[in-house]
Amino acid sequence: MVLLRIYGTLRMMLGGRESVELPWREGDTVGALLARFQAGERIPVTHKLVDDRCMLHTGTIILLNRRNILHLDRLETPVRDGDVLALFPPGAGG
């Protein structure tokens, strides 16, 4: 399984759920997992993260096991069984 942890506005969109467990599949990537996650949701969520051309948006950081996926292989980053993926839209102001 892969644990998807959700924060901020995304959590509110998902009815307050703090996390979702997704079955892991051989060859999984961050992009594939997000697509599978979206397929299981009734409302559009991942458009907050990735646009129609599979480009990452900038308002939410995606961390795989504590590392921003922009420092890995972005949406092509391989995911292993037991990994933790976090979607966090930080507060930008001060």
Binding site: Y7, G59, R66, H71, G91, A92
Partner: protein, 221 residues
């Protein structure tokens, strides 16, 4: 020890009070978060405060920036902040720099602890780059009814600009409630006092605060 600290000494003891009194803190940005952070830390009896900001008080600041009032409109925030903080606690040494934190910013040598109260990623990344090895950064951010606090150690933790890689400043003014900055600033000061006491609670760990559903969550980095 002074009578002014009697109530907090009952809470955290004389040793913590001594450490706070000997500590030095750079507050980067004295806007929403920074104005309250430096006020709380001055009241707590921090030894030396270095305030850095180039902004002037504007009407749109007054709903959340606790050191300023209508009589301060147009004045430099660091100068007003110094006046108010000295009136609150004259034993605190206060140094100000009217400077925008951006590329080329230099942290004065020997500063061991920094509160990131900035309102933009460019400044935050420049601040991180400028920190000397071993310097501890307590980062805060706020937007709407949400915010986060995180402690990092330069040279040991993941760099702030790697954690926030790809983050781009939202266009236009950032929405923020009047009370969320006080909540996040209060949590930052709690963490600052823990860091000074050698017991950081949020080292390499975000505390994510959501006032919409009144939740606190952790996110390790």
């Amino acid at each position: 020890m002074e009578e002014r600290y009697a109530r907090q000494r009952l809470f955290w003891g004389d040793e913590r009070q001594r450490l706070i009194g000997e500590s030095e803190l750079l507050v980067a940005g004295v806007g929403g978060l920074g104005a309250t952070v430096c006020q709380i830390m001055a009241r707590a009896g921090v030894g030396r405060l270095l305030l850095v900001d180039d902004g002037a008080v504007a009407l749109e600041d007054l709903h959340r920036q606790s050191l300023y009032g209508e009589c301060d409109l147009g004045r430099k925030k660091v100068l007003v902040a110094r006046e108010r903080l000295q009136a609150i606690n004259s034993t605190v040494e206060i140094v100000v720099r009217e400077e925008r934190i951006g590329c080329g910013f230099a942290v004065p040598g020997g500063v061991p602890l920094v509160a990131d109260c900035l309102d933009n990623y460019e400044g935050r990344f420049a601040l991180w780059d400028a920190l000397p090895a071993g310097c501890r950064l307590v980062h805060g951010g706020v937007q709407g009814d949400r915010g986060q606090v995180l402690t990092l150690v330069k040279g040991e933790s993941q760099p702030l600009n790697e954690i926030y890689a790809g983050s781009v400043q939202p266009a236009g003014a950032i929405e923020v409630s009047p009370y969320s900055v006080f909540v996040i600033a209060g949590l930052m000061c709690s963490e600052l006092c823990h860091v000074i006491g050698g017991s950081a609670k949020l080292l390499d760990r975000f505390l994510v605060v959501d006032l919409v559903d009144l939740s606190l969550s952790f996110l390790d980095v």
